[in-house]
């Protein structure tokens, strides 16, 4: 897939940061408002997909390798499972235990629901949202990138 015209590329460059911010906002506020890791991640990944369409898969593949994306994806998943394991390890609790809630060691995390603008109000849930968001961004973008790169046109014929 080759890149598109200059108009498209310019508009993409302007809107790409806005989409990023919006997606990250949805990830960060997942526990307070509708949304969360997957939805925000999907928004960010669609922004990345827009860059892919505008600049072409060959250019994008030159900028970011699919291998690095899968490492990021693994890191996101490990973060999620790791937080779940921490719930098991700290304080003899249970798997997936919200161990940051109602405790005194890390006081910034222990309150619940004290306002719409505070994102540290649900224990581990925002952290899990970040992990899921990382995984979804990397995973979805890797899928789109690999598919676009694998089916790119070469001399008018699918390779």
């Amino acid at each position: 897939m080759m890149g598109m015209s200059r108009i498209v590329k310019t508009i993409t460059s302007i809107t790409f940061p806005l989409i990023m911010i919006y997606g990250l906002y949805i990830i960060a506020h997942g526990h307070l408002t509708p949304g969360g890791g997957f939805q925000g991640g999907a928004v960010v990944a669609s922004g990345c997909a827009m860059v892919l369409v505008a600049y072409g898969s060959v250019w994008t593949m030159g900028k970011i390798k699919e291998k690095n994306l899968s490492i990021l994806e693994s890191l996101g998943a490990i973060g999620f499972i790791g937080i779940a394991f921490f719930g098991l390890i700290f304080g003899l609790n249970y798997f997936f235990n919200n161990f940051l809630l109602n405790q005194s060691n890390l006081p910034i995390f222990n309150a619940i629901g004290v306002g719409l603008s505070n994102i540290n109000t649900a224990g581990v849930i925002p952290l899990m949202n970040f992990a899921v968001g990382l995984k979804v961004i990397a995973g979805l973008f890797a899928i789109v990138l690999v598919m676009a790169y694998g089916t790119r046109l070469k001399g008018g014929k699918a390779e």
Partner: protein, 547 residues
């Protein structure tokens, strides 16, 4: 030391799923370091999972307890009896299935070491294998309907990607596509049924559902959707056509674990029928008279499907000339035996006049009961799940070994391998005897119970079961003759025995087969009978969550 063990035991239901999941995501990172390290890591992860499975199973089978693990801690029920949390509920049947799954997973990973040595993309292969194992354990251990669906999908997505692992072969990709279409639709209908149940009882927890279920009109629809969707995933005729494609085209180590995944779907049917709908189907109070007709007709339909599964599986296997496809059809026939036990159990419910000895006086009253032989049928069926997984698994491993040694699975082009591959020949012989129900192998022990109980409900069904077993023997004698016997084919003169890790993997399964075959009663009394009692006893399953 004991405290640590107790702590691990408490958390083992979650750890059994969580450890392979963590391992799956760590594998791509570790494989950047070293291939050998990654293989050792994967084997270690699976062995650790197996350790937790045996820890849990040992406790359950020796104490007869039910382990309930609530994710996030706390009580599964709110004050109003409203079920909110995801939980794993492990009784005898779950533990039994988990033992089978852990054996298959362990052997499959050991086998992969040499079998996959020359392929690229091994880090993805191991990641998917571990994901598939995690999904399989999740399906087996979960006590939550929606969680069951999620793990069903995890298993089918990862196994589909593994079936299409040989992407340079068109047929493998085709088989993978068929499998994902089948499993997506089957799982969606299961989800639809879960939605119907949720709409009525406001609960996703299996035990809470089982406590509240009334068997109304919508419940019947949900039961049909559950049975049909899971039966398609389990490969029951006539929804079996994906099975030979998928089993035949996948790498052998994957097929071994895929057998476990298929049986997890079969376990799903058992769990739905006997636990979630236990108050209707397992009920033997006088109030259950109205539903006998309905239960019997499901039972007879299942018997019919089972007989068809056996017959078509065996007849098609007789005709195949591709080794793995042939074994896949034989696996299909074996699934029929397990379904037969389930069908016999359901079809044998009846009501009649019984003399009840009360306090000092004997009165005659109408009661609902299961025929005596039906519990034996269920025992045989559950026992056969284990035997089938081992037998068919061993045969697939041998087929993979033959493929690795000769790069050929076509029976017409093979011959005389017994001279060069002695151990493989012995393992195939063991698998052959076991799968066709020859004494003294394990297949005979379970099949004998199924024959006898099926004969009790209808002689024709029992006879067909025996004939199918004989035909299975014929099928594998043909394979043995055309692959291992005969003169050396010139092209295969320099064939070597397969590497050690594959021999070890096959040896483990062969050893278990012989041990079970020699001491079937030990296995039945200590593992199979508790599992059968657990699945029949729906009230104790409910009691695991609702005190």
């Amino acid at each position: 030391m004991n405290e640590i063990l107790d702590g691990l035991l408490t958390h083992s239901p979650a750890l059994i799923v969580a450890i392979p999941l963590l391992g799956a995501f760590l594998t791509p990172l570790i494989s950047r370091v070293n291939d050998k390290l990654r293989n050792i890591f994967v084997i270690f992860i699976v062995a650790l999972t197996g350790f937790f499975v045996f820890l849990l199973a040992n406790d359950i089978f020796s104490n007869g307890s039910i382990h309930t693990y609530v994710f996030g801690g706390g009580s599964p029920l709110t004050d109003g009896g409203f079920a909110i949390r995801i939980l794993f509920e492990v009784d005898g049947m779950n533990a039994f299935m988990a033992i089978i799954a852990s054996i298959l997973a362990f052997v499959g990973v050991i086998y992969s070491w040499s079998f996959m040595k020359e392929h690229t993309g091994q880090d993805k292969y191991y990641t998917l294998i571990l994901l598939m194992i995690a999904g399989m354990f999740g399906m087996i251990l979960t006590g939550d309907m929606f969680n069951f669906f999620v793990f069903l999908e995890i298993t089918s997505i990862s196994s589909c990607a593994l079936i299409a692992f040989y992407t340079n072969k068109g047929k493998a990709v085709d088989a993978g596509f068929k499998y994902i279409v089948i499993s997506a639709i089957g799982a969606l209908f299961v989800l639809f049924a879960i939605g119907i149940l949720y709409s009525q009882y406001n609960a996703l927890n299996m035990a809470v559902l089982a406590n509240n279920i009334t068997y109304g009109f919508l419940d019947k629809i949900a039961l049909v959707l559950l049975i049909a969707g899971l039966a398609m995933k389990a490969g029951i005729v006539p929804m079996h056509m994906w099975l030979p494609d998928a089993y035949g085209r996948a790498p052998s180590s994957v097929t071994l674990i895929l057998v476990g995944a298929t049986q997890a779907s079969l376990y799903g049917i058992f769990r739905m029928v006997f636990s979630v709908y236990g108050k209707t189907i397992g009920n033997i109070n006088a109030s259950a008279v109205d539903t006998i007709m309905n239960v019997n007709s499901i039972g007879w339909i299942l018997i019919l499907l089972a007989v068809l599964t056996m017959l078509i599986g065996v007849l098609m296997a007789l005709k195949q000339y591709d080794l793995k496809r042939l074994i896949a059809f034989a696996a299909l026939a074996e699934i029929g035996y397990m379904l037969l036990g389930l069908g016999v159990r359901l079809a044998s419910k009846f009501s009649g006049e019984f003399e009840v000895t009360g306090a000092g006086s004997t009165t005659t009253m109408t009661q609902v009961q299961f025929q005596g032989f039906s519990s034996a049928a269920l025992t045989g069926s559950v026992f056969h799940i284990m035997n089938d997984a081992l037998d068919i698994g061993l045969l697939f491993l041998v087929a993979g070994a033959i493929y690795l040694a000769t790069k050929e699975t076509n029976l017409n082009k093979l011959g005389g391998l017994a001279r060069n591959m002695k151990y493989t020949t012995v393992f195939f012989l063991i698998g052959l005897l076991a799968v066709s129900g020859m004494p003294p192998m394990n297949g005979f022990a379970s099949k004998l119970i199924i024959y006898e109980s099926a004969y009790q409900i209808n002689p024709i069904v029992g006879i067909i079961a025996i004939v199918c077993s004989i035909l299975l023997l014929a099928v594998f004698v043909k394979v043995f003759h055309s692959v291992f016997l005969g003169p050396k084919i010139p092209r295969l003169k320099d064939v070597k025995e397969v590497p050690k890790s594959m021999l070890i993997a096959m040896g483990i399964i062969a050893l278990i087969i012989i041990l079970i075959g020699l001491f079937p009663n030990f296995v039945i009394e200590n593992i199979v009978q508790p599992a059968t009692d657990a699945i029949v006893n729906y009230s104790s399953y409910i009691g695991g969550v609702i005190p």
